[in-house]
Every structure is written in C-alpha cells, then in structure tokens.
C-alpha cells in the first residue's frame, strides 16, 4: 500500500519530465520540407569541385549575397543534368520559369540580427564550416524545423532542447555570438550585431 502511494508522486514526476523533455520539443517544432532537394556534396569537393564562394559570394561592397539566385543555377542547369525527378522538377518549375526557389534557410537569423559575413571571413578569418558545419558536404537537405512560437529555425537554438552545444556550429544564439566576441573584441556594443 505504501509502495503504491509513493508511486503516485514518482509517476507524476516522470510524467512531468516526459512532457518537458520529450513531448514539448516535438510539439514546439514543426517540420517543413524544402521546396526542392539540393545536393551540396555533388557541387563541391569531389563532385563538381566548386567552392563555397562560387555560389555564396561576397559582393564588391562586402555584402554577402546569400543563396544564389535562380539565374546562377541556370548557368549550368538550363537543361536537367541527370535524370532524377527532383532535377527535372527543379528545372521545369523554377529554372525554365525563371522563378526563385523559396529556400528555407537553416541559418537565417531574424531581421533584427545583423551578421556581416565579410567581417567574419576577411577580418576574423573564419572558415565557412566554423558556423555552418558540414552543410557544404551534405548530400541532401534535411527538413526545416521551425519553432512554432518564435518562428526561428531550430538551427538557431541548436539540436539539444536543453541548449547544450555539442559543436561550434550547433546553435547560433546571441550568447554564441557573445562568447566569441567577448574573447576577441574589447569594445562590444549591442548595435554591433543588431540593426
């Protein structure tokens, strides 16, 4: 009898922990598939041999171009290369209609965050992988996980719901910016990274 009695609070505790650690993250995020699949590995390294900068270039004025426009894809993909269904759909629905692909950007920060790629690449000499991980050698695009409340990509928070960072590139919250800036910069100000 006493055992069953003391089981009640333990069951309650377990339920609470389960709800917080397991149910909550699944409910919090919604997953969306990318409009088209993209194989980074096929384009870089041993694939087509391109570098990150070939598509994600820094402009003359130092502004980062972000994801290339459809015209840039069209330079090679005017006609389908290979016979995959994804490729055919990509060429027919986007390239030939000159429509931009509404990519869901894993690393996209909200409007109020300002991140100058050029300063980090040219001045701080950071490699793309430091922040973007092995995205450049991935062979497909995983589903985009969006926080239902804040609208952020899950990549901003990081894969661990507890916010524990396993890799340098896993999670890019303000604290992550600060942890690096506090080491490398004497004069820090909010307006350095906020716009």
């Amino acid at each position: 009898m006493t055992i069953t009695r003391s089981l009640v609070p333990i069951a309650g505790l377990a339920t609470g922990l389960f709800a917080g650690w397991v149910v909550f993250p699944t409910v919090l995020y919604t997953t969306v598939d990318q409009p088209v699949q993209f194989n980074h590995a096929a384009h870089t390294g041993n694939g087509a041999g391109m570098s990150c900068q070939d598509c994600h270039a820094l402009g003359q004025d130092g502004r980062f171009a972000g994801i290339p426009g459809i015209h840039q894809c069209a330079e090679c993909h005017e006609e389908p290369i290979g016979s995959s269904e994804n490729e055919r759909r990509f060429v027919e629905e986007y390239v030939q209609q000159n429509r931009e692909v509404p990519w869901l950007v894993y690393a996209r920060q909200p409007d109020n965050a300002y991140f100058p790629h050029v300063v980090h690449v040219h001045k701080a000499k950071l490699a793309c992988e430091t922040c973007h991980g092995k995205h450049g050698s991935s062979s497909g695009l995983r589903p985009y996980e969006m926080n239902r409340i804040s609208g952020y990509s899950r990549d901003i928070w990081g894969s661990s719901i507890a916010g524990i960072k396993s890799q340098a590139w896993d999670g890019m919250k303000m604290d992550d910016c600060i942890s690096c800036h506090s080491v490398h910069n004497n004069d820090r100000a909010c307006i350095d990274c906020h716009k």
């Binding site: 609070p9 309650g12 339920t15 909550f24 993250p25 972000g66």
Partner: protein
C-alpha cells in the same frame, strides 16, 4: 487503485515539479519573449541584391536628379544624385518619398466610375475598354455647339502638345492650363513690352536685392538646390543677397527672409505702386532712363496714378512704416541687380493688376532682360503641329463643354472645381480624369482612368518654370507598372483613332532639341557636361536620358524692348490701381471676425497626393501646418473667444471647417492662417471632399488678400 483527491493533487504537484526540471517553462518563456520581437504582425524587411538606379523626380517640374537605392530591384530610398547638375545633391521631403506613391492606399486600381453622394465619393470599377468607349461615345454624340476641353495640369510636355493637336481638330476644342502666376506675369510683361509669347525666368542666383511679394522662395517654390544657392548668396562677400519678403502671412519664407514686410492683407498692389513712386521720386535718373528716354507711351497716366501712392498713404494702407518703405525703395534702386517677384504660391495666383504693377516696377528698375533679373528662357520645341491655343478656364464660355479631360494631379490650387462647373454643358457632359489617385479635381470627374504612379512609366520632366535655364529629362521607370493603369496617350489614341507611342513622341521631341543644337547634356552620375554635337542621334540622347541625364539650355540674351507701356493695355487699369490706395477693412477679431489667409507649401505636396510617410512632417511634428490647424495671434484669438488648443469652427461665406486653434504671437493681429495643403489626417475620408472648402470662389483673389471669416468655439 482508488483515485483520491489527495492522490490527484500529489500527482499534479509532482508533475509540475518534473516540468520545472525540464526545459519547457524556460524555453517557453524565452520563445514567447522572442515572439514579441518577431511576431507575424511585424513587417519583414525585403531581401535581395542591393543596387542603385538613377532617375529624375517627376513630382513637380523641378526635375531633381535622384539616386534610388533598391533591394531586389525595388527602390526603398531616394536621395539626391550629388554630382548631378539638376538637383545638385538636394531633394525636398516630397521627392524623397516619391517612390512611396505607388503604394498609396488611395491609389486607383483601374478605370472607375465615380459616384457622388452628398458627402461621399465612391468608385465602381469598369474595364478600360468600356471607359474608352464611353468617352468616345460622349465625344461623338455631343450636343451641337458644345466643345471638348482638356485641363492640362502640367503644360509644356510632349503630351500637352498632343492634347493641343487633338483639340485643334475639334470644334471647338479648348486647351486649358492653370491660370497661375507664371501665366499672369507673362501676360503683364507681354502687355508692357508689346510682345507676345514671352517666357521669362528669374535669375535669382545673381540678384542682389530680391523683393518677393508673397513668393514662398523657401517653401517649395523652386528646386531645393536653388534655395541652397540663395542661402549661399547671402554669404557672398562681394554682393550678398538681401531678401525682402512682403506677405501678411508668417511663413517659412517670412521667417528666413532678411526682412519681412508684414503688409496688411490685400495691400500688395499699394506696396508695389508705393515703392514705384519712391523709386521714381528719389531716383529721377532711373525714371528718366526707363520712362522718358524709352518713349513710354503712357508716362502721364503712370505719374498721375503714382501720385496717389505717396509713402504716407502706402504706409497707412500696408501698415509698413514710411522709413521702412523708403529703405526698401532705396535698396531696390541702389543694390543692383534687383528684382521683384510676385506670386507663385500654391494657394492661388495674385491678381492681374498687381502683376502689371510688378512688371512696371521691374522694368523701371532695369531688371527685365538683365542678369540678376528676368531673363528670356529658351523654348522647348514641340513635335506637334497645328495646336489649339492656350487658354485658361476663364476664357471658356459658360455651358460650352460636353467632354472634359482633366490630366494629371493638380499642382496648384488655382483651378477650383467651382470655376469649371459653370463651363460644363447643361445638356449633358462627361468629365474624365487621368490621375493615379482621387484628388480635389479628379474626385469631381465621372470617369477616372488611373495613370501610372511616379516611377512606373517613363515620364517627361520639363524643368522648373521659374528657372532661367530650361531643361528636359526623363523620369526613368524604377517600378513595374501597375495592372489597370492607363497612360493618357492611350486615351488620346483611342479618341483620335491614331496609334502613337509616347516613347516615340518623346524621341521626336528630343530629335528636335538635337537638331537645334543648343544646350548641354549632363551625365547622370558625375554631372559631366557634353555638347549636343557629341551625340550622334536622338536615340543616343534617349539612352542617356534613361540613365538619368538632363538637357539644359542657358537663358537667351535678347535685348529688352525699346518702348514700354507700363500701364499695359488693360483698360481702366489706372482707375483700378487708384482704388487700391484705399484700405479694406481688417479683421480685428471683434465678433469673431478675422481675415482668413490660405497657406500652402508650393512643392508637389500642395494639392496632390503625397507619401503616407509625410505624416512625419504634417501630423507627427509641427514642420508643416495641416488643414486641421487655424493659427492666430493670441490677442485675436481671445477676442474671438477661443484659446490655444481649442476646437473651433471657422466660417466664410462659402463654407465652414472644424479646426484646432493654435496661438502664435508672431502672427499679424487680425488675421488667421489656414493651410490648404494636404492633411494626411483626413486623406481618403469622407471629410476630405466634403464641405471643406472655406476658400471656395475666393482663390481667384490674391491669397494675400484673404477672405473674411468668423471664428467661434466649436
């Protein structure tokens, strides 16, 4: 096991504790805080490559060069192209927001029929073709002896020429332009010189003494770059500018002038004639030079009438002390070059008799045809031949128009609907308007064909009409043209059965300019000048124009006439001038009576639609007064029984309006100032078109004369 209340409580308590030891509450708190920053109700900024494009602002004829910063090809900010000759790095607030007009909430989305109820304007859409057919029907089936008319809000464009060519084929066809100060000034000079078709510009950049009779030189009267030049001229070491501003109203120009002559309302003719008298009396050499030697045909009459305007009488009439008048007269006579400019206010033109007096004084001062004075402008050739004569609404017989096309947004408030209404045929008429928005005039139309908004089409900019330099440029399109908009030329083509493209017409005009070979083309980025001969063809100039270049031509050096008729040829002008020596009753605030004076900024904001963002200076700060505020001197206000901040009603013989009282001790006692400019507060609301016109039928008088009004607490 039994479920007890205690058991449930324990379970709930423990799970709450469990949740506390999970990320749930903490991450939820964090995410909710982020949600307050990124919620879906907060607009997202556009993304896309950042570029710049050059164009010309077409909101007013000033034609300032603009550099548009674009994101993803859509302009998001305008700034003046710094090194460009037109604009010279200066833009007015209206021009800075020209790219917003395409998104104006009151923009018409397609051809519409307007329905008017007692206090409301509503639109029903119809297809462009239907609208064309109805207009063509009205043209073809119009009652006998009635005519077609076009009111051209912005004369001098190639399109204006096409309108005139079309009207020349109609019988009768009236080509009507706003009856503004420019027109009246040219009439006055033409009268005095016995020459027709004069086109004069004001060489303010070289003037040493400038007397402005109500001309709002610091309030949107000309390009901001010229205003800056005026300020620079003040600090000119050799021959600094002295600006004297005569106006009963306290405006930005009154504030910024070197000297403000707060003349009694309606006394501007007396002031001009009084100054003429002083100049002739104290400087007989001037008088001899221009009046005697040059065989002025009416010397006697002039001298007779001037004898009525002794400094004492004028001082009494204008409220300006005698010694001030003497000093101003002396400055005009001695600090050369000097010039007198009258009118140019968006609130309406000054009457013709005053313009005649101003022309006489200018001739007397030797300002006509002299650098620093009034110079002949080059003329822009027009590709059309056989054009209808230029007339004003007053020239059109009553009840004679059965089809009226009102082109464009009104630039000044000088043409009011009341003056048009009586000209329409009582046997049926159709009024068509081509404006992207409903404005004061187009709201009275039957059918609206919305023209493209600024920067949606290649628009021609013919240059500041007050400048001595003539210019021509193209407002390069920066935005995709909105579906449903109709270029006025398309309507004209439909009516005349032709099919000319606007672009071809523009090129024809450019070819004519090219053929004449006068002037320079200034490059779009650095403003570097190129002779016309450097361009092989009109097409090449066109390409330069599309990239933001401008053609400019300096003033012509024509010798002044040898003989003047200072009284003009206007019959009985002497009598009418003489009558101006006596004062009109001034509003003293007793019984709430004041003289109500209209004010308005003269830039593109005066009557047309402005960017929604202009609430910043019209409503969210006190930079520009809105129609909602009546400004008066505290003494006047108190005599009217109103206090600062009160809600009040101002009533004239033509209407009444609810206003908020603003006191300002810097205003002339007995007058009240009310803006006729836009009021973003009522923009698009019923009240905008309803009974708001306290100045109705009175704008044909000088804006400085004002109207009698009663102010009382609401």
């Amino acid at each position: 096991m039994q479920v007890t209340r205690r058991g449930l409580l324990k379970f709930a308590g423990a799970s709450a504790a469990g949740i506390l030891f999970s990320p749930l509450p903490w991450k939820l708190l964090d995410d909710i805080a982020i949600w307050t920053q990124t919620g879906p109700w907060i607009p997202k900024v556009p993304r896309g490559p950042l570029t710049t494009a050059f164009s010309t602002c077409a909101l007013c004829p000033g034609g300032c060069a603009v550099e548009a910063r674009c994101a993803g090809g859509i302009p998001y900010a305008m700034r003046a192209a710094v090194r460009h000759t037109a604009g010279r790095g200066a833009l007015c607030p209206v021009g800075m927001t020209g790219h917003h007009l395409a998104y104006h909430p009151l923009r018409l989305s397609g051809a519409s029929v307007i329905r008017r109820t007692s206090d409301q304007v509503e639109t029903d859409s119809l297809s462009t073709q239907e609208a064309f057919d109805r207009i063509l029907g009205a043209l073809n089936t119009r009652p006998l002896a009635t005519g077609v008319a076009v009111i051209d809000q912005r004369p001098g464009r190639t399109l204006s020429g096409q309108f005139r060519a079309f009207l020349a084929q109609q019988s009768p066809g009236y080509y009507i332009v706003p009856d503004d100060d420019r027109l009246r000034m040219h009439e006055a000079f033409s009268n005095a010189c016995g020459k027709d078709g004069l086109s004069l510009g004001f060489d303010i950049e070289r003037t040493a003494t400038l007397l402005t009779i109500g001309t709002p030189v610091f309030d949107g009267w000309t390009r901001p770059a010229r205003t800056a030049a005026l300020l620079d001229r003040r600090h000119d070491a050799r021959n600094p500018l002295k600006l004297i501003h005569a106006d009963p109203r306290r405006t930005r120009t009154s504030v910024l002038a070197d000297q403000w002559l707060p003349i009694a309302p309606g006394s501007e003719t007396a002031l001009v004639l009084g100054l003429t008298n002083i100049v002739m009396r104290d400087h007989p050499s001037l008088a001899a030079r221009y009046v005697a030697d040059l065989h002025t045909s009416d010397r006697r009459g002039m001298l007779d009438v001037l004898s009525l305007f002794t400094p004492g009488i004028v001082a009494k009439r204008t409220g300006i002390p005698v010694d001030t008048l003497e000093k101003v007269g002396s400055a005009l006579a001695h600090r050369k070059p000097s010039m007198v400019i009258a009118g140019g206010d968006a609130a309406g033109p000054i009457d013709r008799d005053t313009h005649q007096a101003v022309a006489a004084l200018n001739i007397l001062l030797g300002s006509y045809g002299t650098p620093g004075g009034l110079l002949h402008r080059d003329e822009l050739p027009m590709p059309a031949t056989k054009m209808a004569a230029i007339s004003t609404i007053g020239d059109v017989p009553d009840g004679s128009i059965s089809l009226l096309i009102i082109d464009g947004e009104e630039m000044t408030c000088s043409t009011c609907w009341e003056s048009i209404e009586s000209k329409l045929s009582p046997d049926g008429h159709l009024v068509v308007s081509t404006s992207p928005f409903l404005t004061q005039l187009s709201a009275h139309a039957d059918i609206v064909l919305p023209s493209p908004a600024p920067y949606e089409t290649a628009a021609e900019v013919v240059g500041d009409p007050t400048d001595t330099v003539v210019s021509l440029s193209i407002s390069t399109p920066l935005l995709p043209r909105k579906q449903g908009s109709v270029e006025p030329i398309e309507l004209l083509n439909h009516l005349s059965g032709e099919s000319v493209a606007m672009q071809e017409l523009l090129k024809q005009r450019i070819a004519l300019v090219h053929a004449r070979g006068r002037g320079m083309i200034a490059g779009y980025q650095d403003g570097s000048g190129h002779r016309l001969s450097e361009f092989a063809s009109a097409d090449e100039i066109w390409s330069a124009f599309i990239e933001g270049a401008v053609w400019t031509s300096p003033p012509l050096h024509e010798t002044p006439a040898h003989s003047y008729t200072l009284l003009g040829h206007s019959p009985n002008i002497v009598d009418r001038w003489a009558a101006r020596a006596e004062g009109e009753p001034n509003g003293n605030g007793a019984d709430g009576q004041v003289i109500l004076l209209p004010t308005a900024s003269s830039d593109a904001a005066s009557c047309g639609r402005i960017s929604p963002l202009m609430t910043k200076i019209y409503q969210e700060s006190e930079v520009r007064p809105t129609r909602a505020h009546l400004v008066l001197h505290p003494d006047t206000g108190r005599r009217c029984g109103v206090d600062d901040g009160d809600q009040a009603v101002v009533q004239t013989e033509s209407g009444s309006r609810h206003v908020t009282i603003r006191f300002s001790a810097s205003l002339m006692p007995g007058v009240a100032q009310l803006s006729i400019g836009p009021d973003p507060n009522v923009s698009g609301k019923k009240s905008e078109f309803a009974g708001s016109d306290v100045f109705r039928n009175t704008l044909s008088r000088s804006p400085m004369a004002g109207v009698t009004a009663i102010v009382r607490r609401a």
